[in-house]
Symmetry: C4
Subunit: 216 residues, 4 copies
Amino acid sequence: MESNAGATRSLSQLDELLGVGTNRLESFSDGVLAVAITLLVLDIHVPDTDRLGHELLHGWTHYAAYVVSFVTIGIIWVNHHAMIGRLREADRTILMLNLLLLLTIGLIPFATALFAAYLNRGTGDHLAAGVYGGVFLAMAISFVALNRHILIRKPNLLNVPLGLEARRLILRRSVTGVLPYLLATGLAAVSPYITLGITGALAAYYAAPVASGTGI
Amino acid sequence: MESNAGATRSLSQLDELLGVGTNRLESFSDGVLAVAITLLVLDIHVPDTDRLGHELLHGWTHYAAYVVSFVTIGIIWVNHHAMIGRLREADRTILMLNLLLLLTIGLIPFATALFAAYLNRGTGDHLAAGVYGGVFLAMAISFVALNRHILIRKPNLLNVPLGLEARRLILRRSVTGVLPYLLATGLAAVSPYITLGITGALAAYYAAPVASGTGI
Amino acid sequence: MESNAGATRSLSQLDELLGVGTNRLESFSDGVLAVAITLLVLDIHVPDTDRLGHELLHGWTHYAAYVVSFVTIGIIWVNHHAMIGRLREADRTILMLNLLLLLTIGLIPFATALFAAYLNRGTGDHLAAGVYGGVFLAMAISFVALNRHILIRKPNLLNVPLGLEARRLILRRSVTGVLPYLLATGLAAVSPYITLGITGALAAYYAAPVASGTGI
Amino acid sequence: MESNAGATRSLSQLDELLGVGTNRLESFSDGVLAVAITLLVLDIHVPDTDRLGHELLHGWTHYAAYVVSFVTIGIIWVNHHAMIGRLREADRTILMLNLLLLLTIGLIPFATALFAAYLNRGTGDHLAAGVYGGVFLAMAISFVALNRHILIRKPNLLNVPLGLEARRLILRRSVTGVLPYLLATGLAAVSPYITLGITGALAAYYAAPVASGTGI
């Protein structure tokens, strides 16, 4: 590709001017999170039955998975908000790591439906629970990767200058959030109800006032 | 977890600086409301029949439920707008109570589909109507809980200082909005058409100009 | 309900301060329009067949209806943008007429799927075309009702003062846009292809550069 | 239509004042992109089987297509962001070409589901791959058409004045992005796996840090 020095210079200057603000990054991420969280309900099917009460009770796994996944996505949103709120502008790596995070979040409606469908079924329940925990685990790891890039590699993009200690502390909190999902995924081999218990307890913990100020 | 005083101090200062603005809270909530209101249409299925006219007429319960749920979500949006518009910034409890409110709103497409499918069916119609009213009831209660937290416990987060009397009056209006849904849920035991009538009348009442200035 | 004069006065002042800005009205409407326009694709099903080419060709009614409905919703968006862009703030009637408009737009994915499914079927094709035209007609009428309220009854809410003549001219354009949909609906009784032709021609006309500056 | 000179003058002045800003163009486009990217997951179905492990492995085509389409839409978003970010305001042609671009993006969930369903099936796989490549091709061409209109025909609408050379260079990058999709579509006749390979390699290339600063 032929290169024109003048044109190239103008382009670099333009790239600088375009230094991606975080507004549209937030609005696109909010859109994906809002759609994903609302699609969760599509997994709760209207039964075609003459014993509606029985069928609705039987569907408890779907309501439980709905609540756990809804609250978890909601908490991701709160923490995503805090993470991006620290940014003055984004570089391309941030956009791409954020896209990876959104990709894992996009899988949550599927993983939730799979988990709910197999939780009280004789076969496939361990595997389905492993997939459920695994998608949350991938989400938590992507979150850490993005947070790490921002805090450790690109502190110059932060809104407010933060000392290395403070940045490491924030990151450590993110990393700590990975561990329970690792447990939830691994212990699916023992019982899918352990996976439900851990992910549910996490959702309840972060939603409760006691966790105020604690990132994932 | 070891604690570094300097880092912790910086973090508290940061938390203050990050005091969550209401812009992204509004945009995320708007997203969930917009998706939920538009997903309602997925419940109106295209019939595969040679008697289309007959089938479309037979599906009137779906159109009625569509209109009632659409207008109800629309009114929640208007009132949510007013409630959050009074806020200068949000604390974590507000984010979490808002998430609870969104969780109940996310269930409306399911409850609507269930209600429409069972309304003119011999069995399960009372239960389906109870679920429909119950989801609206849970939504109204979550709304009151959020409004109460803002008006009574955190008046310092308001945009404009409001006297205790004024705040109590706004809250009382919210609480009043719970009662009809309590009736709609309870009277489903008598007839599902009462549930349809009450929820429909409420939607019409709030949408009509006469209710101007009245919150849920 | 007991009334406290002081509280009531504060509330009226508050209501004034809260005079609904158009930002969140636009963002909620954009959300509904964006979801509705993207849900259209859910009507194009993946066939399960060993003669894929034949089946894909056979599905042309779905692609045609997809394009017509997509462009029509896109044009509604452009005109909605212009209509709300003239507003400084919204009153409750504007919110409710806007909600009615969104309600008709929310039905477009269903009407599109119905029309596409019955267009080249022996029975029900006239009725399905009538429903398709009728939903567009209802949408156009809601648009006029909202525009009329803004331009004729509440010119004081406009951004920029506009003379009565100018306001009447804008409104007349909106009203003119209703006529083709009236035709498309009525002539469905003659042939569903006339409905497709009129709605398709309208979409092409408004999308073409020649229509620049023309509202629906 | 009778014309009143005074009214018409006011209208032209109004049109100027309304010169469409890019905020709502971005928010509507972000909405469509966010919904389309999140709808991709609806194609990954929960199997009803007693051999879940086997079925999940068998569904690898759906995960592969999910990842490729998700990343591709994400990259469109990044490039769309850059393209619209250069604009100060939009004319009607920009709105319509943007709508055409969104129309092709809206088809991606369908094309993805079709491709995944037929990729490892004996018949229809070449055609399905051709449709998949073809939808991406149509998307890339629409992107170039919009970029060309902005850069070559309406440089006066740009935020920052750019020399002709710089504008041509940006456009040339867009055009270059069309070629791989042309290949991916044409070579579907040879093997659908070539289509998967090319589209997957493109997604990986643009997502990788090495492509920083490179538009589609």
